[in-house]
Symmetry: C2
Subunit: 419 residues, 2 copies
């Protein structure tokens, strides 16, 4: 499939701030919940969003060519590229069709800040990898100090596990502090109560477009044909629950209470100019996981924390997707290497993306180094883990020449435990 890349010099007749996440080079898609008429797809441009069902009704998007545009359902990757190209045509400064139609413009151009956006696609399945090598190393150093920080399989396959799809929620959804069973090393018995180690995980995720039947596998070369686009993922984690439950079958209730995703699905086409080689894989991986060309992306990531006392969020970490050891193509190739069928709407996340030094860590577990180094905030407050009332926001963008390809925000506020 040939990507549709908007020229860096292109401009829209809608004015867009150079710092905006949503210039005409991006054009990501989301799903808005409208009062009275339910869900409908939208496409972000600057401070605005185009209402796609309205444009279809007005005859500006072909009803024959595209399925209903209430949700992503029925949109494969090729159709999405076509749709994005058509929206580019409607928004580019020299095109008059929408620009000069005041009536449709008024109906189809919505203020982004008024929108209520949902999860782009309610996931059919949620798979979480562990491809941030610095994060995996940090966790190894903390929990197995007398052994090599990475387990022997780490550099040979993208370690991952199945998560819980039913608790994937939209950015902005309040996160109820989970209860669970925990046991300290010196406690005689475990106890059930609200987690005392509420954490976030800075991740990037992607959605599957075209599925694959059982018994077949997808190669690294063709994997991207099955990927609809990227979103930011916060895999909220209760560390004390995780420590007690995870042996021998992996994390379960310490993760399943909530996972937040950002509302805008950013296409691989928009990220095309930001491809990079990724770090060297040593030892060389087995042939079925070998990829050629630039299958990683240079996307900057930021973590912002705002306590109930703070007037504005404060950055507590900055990282980059270049710290991922395994590419999204390798993740798909691995997942299907045993013949597992994959489906439209499967959501895959990267694992926590930490950089190599302090200030670049993608979880409070690492930032506070198991609670030993509390984070000092501008208000004089400190944090080892998240407290009730804290809002944690993840954001991400690729920096172009004079424009940003951004993801917007993935935010959640911690609410007191219930029940």
């Amino acid at each position: 499939m040939k990507p549709f890349i908007v020229p860096a010099s292109a401009k829209s007749w809608i004015e867009v701030d150079p710092e905006s996440h949503f210039p005409i080079q991006n054009l990501p898609f989301g799903v808005a919940v409208h009062k009275n008429r339910g869900e409908g797809m939208v496409c972000a441009i600057g401070d605005y969003a185009l209402d796609l069902p309205v444009l279809m009704e007005a005859g500006m998007i072909s009803e024959e060519e595209f399925p209903w545009l209430d949700t992503f359902l029925g949109l494969d990757k090729e159709l999405l590229t076509k749709l994005r190209k058509r929206i580019y045509e409607l928004l580019e400064e020299s095109h008059s069709e929408l620009r000069d139609n005041a009536k449709i413009r008024k109906k189809a151009i919505l203020n982004r800040k008024d929108l209520q956006l949902t999860v782009p696609i309610p996931p059919t399945a949620f798979i979480d990898f562990y491809s941030g090598i610095q994060h995996a190393s940090n966790v190894g150093k903390m929990f197995r100090p007398d052994q090599p920080p990475l387990l022997p399989n780490y550099r040979h396959l993208p370690v991952g596990y199945n998560g819980r799809a039913s608790s994937v929620v939209a950015s902005g959804t309040k996160i109820i502090r989970p209860k669970g069973q925990t046991k300290g090393p010196n406690d005689e018995m475990p106890a059930y109560g609200p987690t005392k180690e509420m954490d976030f995980e800075l991740e990037m995720g992607f959605y599957i477009s075209e599925g694959q039947d059982m018994g077949k596998r997808i190669t690294c070369k063709s994997a991207e044909d099955h990927i609809l686009g990227l979103v930011i993922v916060n895999d909220w984690s209760a560390r004390d629950i995780q420590r007690w439950e995870y042996q021998p079958l992996g994390p379960f209730l310490s993760k399943s209470f909530a996972t937040s995703v950002s509302p805008w699905l950013v296409t691989l086409d928009a990220l095309e100019p930001f491809r990079i080689d990724g770090m060297e894989q040593d030892p060389e991986v087995l042939p079925h996981l070998r990829s050629q060309g630039k299958q990683h992306f240079d996307i900057q990531l930021e973590v912002l924390l705002q306590t109930a006392k703070m007037k504005a969020p404060q950055q507590i970490a900055a990282s980059n997707t270049k710290h991922l050891y395994w590419s999204i193509s390798q993740q798909v190739a691995h997942q299907t290497s045993n013949g597992t069928p994959i489906e439209f709407g499967d959501l895959y996340a990267s694992g926590t993306i930490s950089g190599p030094e302090e200030g670049t860590y993608g979880s409070l577990l690492e930032i506070s180094w198991r609670g030993q180094k509390p984070v000092s905030l501008e208000t004089g407050e400190t944090r080892t883990f998240l407290e009730d009332g804290d809002t944690l926001t993840l954001t991400a963008f690729a920096q172009g020449d004079g424009f940003k390809i951004g993801f917007g925000e993935c935010a959640g506020t911690i609410m007191p435990a219930q029940g």
Copy 2:
């Protein structure tokens, strides 16, 4: 909810062999794929099955009271109990409505052996527990010989993990031997190829009927109100892939290639006479996991193997659900104890159900004790793990006074690796 229990003395005007899994006391539901007209619900009786959409069309099942009966969709637990009661009325020997209507009888009574049955409900999610304490002990003895066989958390919470729902298949679906990455302890590098340790896991599963919203939990007392019924589950496992991949996040591709379920959903109402206390839980579990009354079931389990050379299957193990340490109610209470939302169609499985001695183990890993004790078959063949052409069948029933409440079979034949 009050269960509907068919008296042990009840008889149908359809003759049923005392050894049949499907007397009038059972009346389990399935979904058949009919040539020409797609899927439709069926209810098993002896060697036959009632075609429910046909009975609805004939006015014998109320169209107002029940949703379409093509699939389970829209049937909550209360409606299913009502439906089963109505079917009992139609089949009981003193009732003439269906018995004496030759035209409808001919259309609505199908031969079970001609039916193509699907997975009762394509699962929204698949969660696998580890509640067979003998299995967990055996695995511990094999893999951590110098430590206590059970990990410290085992008796405090039902250990479990999220599996892959997209690869849950109907009994009879051929199982393609998965490929994957493996590494022996003395190999310098891992290799990718067909698994050499293809195994089965003898499990019992249940489906969720009424879901529960995020942030709320379900108590042990009310958990069964959310359970639609039970099925047999075979969680096919590739042991060599599992050993190499599972640290630190648990089993992934070693399980996700296929999971088979039996076609008949057996209601808890039908199993009511077979309730038992279950084994003593020591130490006493925390209050949120404590249950009262008989929340376990006495269900006999058998494992049958037929190689390509054999004329008939040979029993290689027999076990019982009484060997489960945690009840299905405790599993639901645990799963929702952190506020995870659950949904109609979620499938939960028990984990491998092994008994305490040889002959009662629910996996070849245990039966052949890691390949050290090959199983001798009647043909003179031996097996440590499954070979291509082998058919592995699980079956289950509760023994009543003069009748069996059975589950039918959960079978799969191993096919050579592909691709």
